[in-house]
Amino acid sequence: MIQEDTLKKVLYIDLSKKKFWVEERTDLFSQFIGGTGVAIKLLHENCGYDIDPFSPENPIIFAIGPLNGLFPIASKTVAVFKSPHTGNLGESHAGGRSAIAIRMAGYGAIVIKGRSDRPCYIAIHSDKVYFKDATTLWGLEEGVSAGRLIRNQEPGAGLRTIMRIGPAGEKMVSFACVTLETYRHFGRLGLGAVFGSKNLKAVVVSGKRDLKVTNFKEYKEVYGELLAQLAQSDKMRKYHELGTSSNIMPLSFSRGIPIKNLLTNELQEISNISGESFAEKHLGRRVACSHCPVACIHLATLRKPYEDEPYFYRTVYLSYDYELIYALGSMLGVTSSEGVLKLIEVVEDMGLDAISTGVVLSWITEAFEKGVISEKMTEGLIPQWGNVDTYIEIIKKIVYGTSEFFNDTRRGIDYVSSKYGGKEFALTYGGNEMPGYHTGYAAHIGYLFGARHSHLDSAGYAIDKEAMVRPLNEEQIANKIISEECWRQILSTLVICFFGREIYTVDVILRCLKLTGYNISKEELLKIGQKIYIDKYRFKIKSGFDLSSLSLPKRVFELPSSIGLLKKDFADRIIEILREKIKSLL
């Protein structure tokens, strides 16, 4: 790396002692580049394997990489922590203004430890760190936004990130998210709850600086080529135009979109919640993360009349994409776009992970239908497919409810189904709720073995798509899952948004890295990716993750996927191969 680069600076913040200090970690950034590579090393250093995720000892680690602030679409921040949702590796990525703000503030990583005695927020403005009182921001009801209040208090308009939690984070719901810039999230695995456990309402970061490159002329050339590709390439069209929600109809035709907890492949009027339909009826604005020209964030307008006051309307903007329409639409049998938006609004207000919330609701609905849970347990609420108003009430109960059942739902459906039954239709993978692809073996086994149990670990749906054309055997599927996940570690060290993955090929990445002072070969780069993957698995296993107990939910085998009905013995063989491969790597 370039010697003067501030990337090597790690900012440590101790919330218990209200102290902060900076350490230069050239060792980490030169060996593991940045982002997820540095973050997992910092997690091993700062997090005891047997600690409670809600203890002050659980660190929150944010990390960025050398390409952030230098090249377009390198716009993401990696957050790692011990997950209160799964009990092992917590990792989530978000864009917004966060990556550029951390880079411009002059850090490569931020490690937050301890627990504040009172609610507080942290404001990081370049080399200054402030511990601010947030007692008034704690417990805010709907209608008053902590983000808006902090915005008025802090400098750095236009360049700052404001990462904050909602009521779900404060109440330590294990799938609470951290929201940034209103529309982006560290969504999965419960970072919001870890914020809550530390009495940490928000983290603000801002700064402004110039960075160094090894050759300015070449830098301009590479930058120009990348910008042109991001604008013109067909590879980006999907994100440019309708956004990821363009996948609703194709995946519906191929039976790949999960519907009603995977009870059926049929959902009448699914076209009402297609990307096309959302664009036509609701698309009000498109926005982008800092330093990304793609503007994939699609904001829908939802106009709601005031019931008590004629001719008064409330118009809200809500971001939507494929995963949200799946989790809060098809999965719940909701086929009106307004209904999906109403659910998105309450999920945003509460500060929950949308995917997990949708899957929790779908499990509750089926469990209720099957008599696994009763009306008494749901405090009189009767969940029904498609009934948006009841779902809104249930979401609020998950956060605010006092009954034993709702208390339990705050831990996700892995826990709830272990306690009450209904495990066979609890769609969880390593403790995390299912993403929106029932496309075939690779999608499901990808969630199961992915280090963060996310569809983004290995994009199994893309492997399934390949298998639809040319069948793949067990060994091939297992190999593809591992090699894709290893490669994605590289993208996450830099930190490039996965939407730019087809533009940022190995050669492009090596050129970019050279300009930031990293002279490494393709082989070395791939090796770093594998090392990071192994390091993640080591953390998981030391924290109690058990490879031998991994299995797919029974329901997965009961409903045809995009590649037909999945066979358990075929899946089991892939699982066995992956288990052995991972064990041999450790």
């Binding site: 602030g69 230098l70 377009p72 550029i100 411009m104 983000g147 808006r148 915005r151 308009a157 236009g158 360049l159 810039e181 209103t182 529309y183 402004k208 600086r209 110039d210 960075l211 160094k212 490159v213 300015f216 830098y219 301009k220 930058y223 910008l227 604008a231 604005r285 498109r286 926005v287 982008a288 993360c289 800092s290 330093h291 990304c292 020209p293 793609v294 503007a295 964030i297 904001l299 809200v316 903007y317």
Partner: protein, 131 residues
């Protein structure tokens, strides 16, 4: 008037223009950028872009006690860095808020009327017109 804001309602807030401005000042990053992009009180309300419109009779130049800003014939101003004392009167004089500030140099960052910002904007929020 080389660069003007054609339609800020279309701005997505990507900051690509700010980075382009930095490169035009031979820098990488945002310290040497004179453009500002800010949300209009929250991202849902869209963005405002603050960019030099190359005034013919620029208040920034008139406010400079050291005559460090030279009025260009084609609009806009040139900064004579050696004359600048870093008083920042020019920044206050610009009603468009289109002058940047380098805290390292303690001097303003002045638009050089190159149009790189407009050329890099995918959404044609900014338009570069040669005159």
């Amino acid at each position: 008037m080389p660069v003007f804001v054609r339609d800020s309602e279309k701005c997505v807030g990507c900051l690509i223009c700010m980075f382009a401005c930095g490169r035009a000042h031979l820098a990488v990053g945002l310290e040497s950028s004179c453009i500002k992009v800010r949300s209009q009180g929250g991202i849902s309300r869209g963005f405002s872009v603050f960019v030099c419109r190359g005034c013919e009779d620029p208040p920034c130049a008139r406010s400079c006690p050291e005559d460090a800003l030279i009025v260009r014939k084609s609009g806009g101003v040139l900064l004579k860095e050696d004359r600048c004392t870093g008083c920042s009167y020019c920044v206050k004089a610009c009603i468009l808020d289109a002058i940047g500030w380098s805290t390292i140099k303690n001097k303003p960052v002045i638009c050089i009327q190159c149009g790189e910002c407009a050329k890099s904007c995918h959404y044609r929020v900014l338009e570069y017109r040669r005159i």
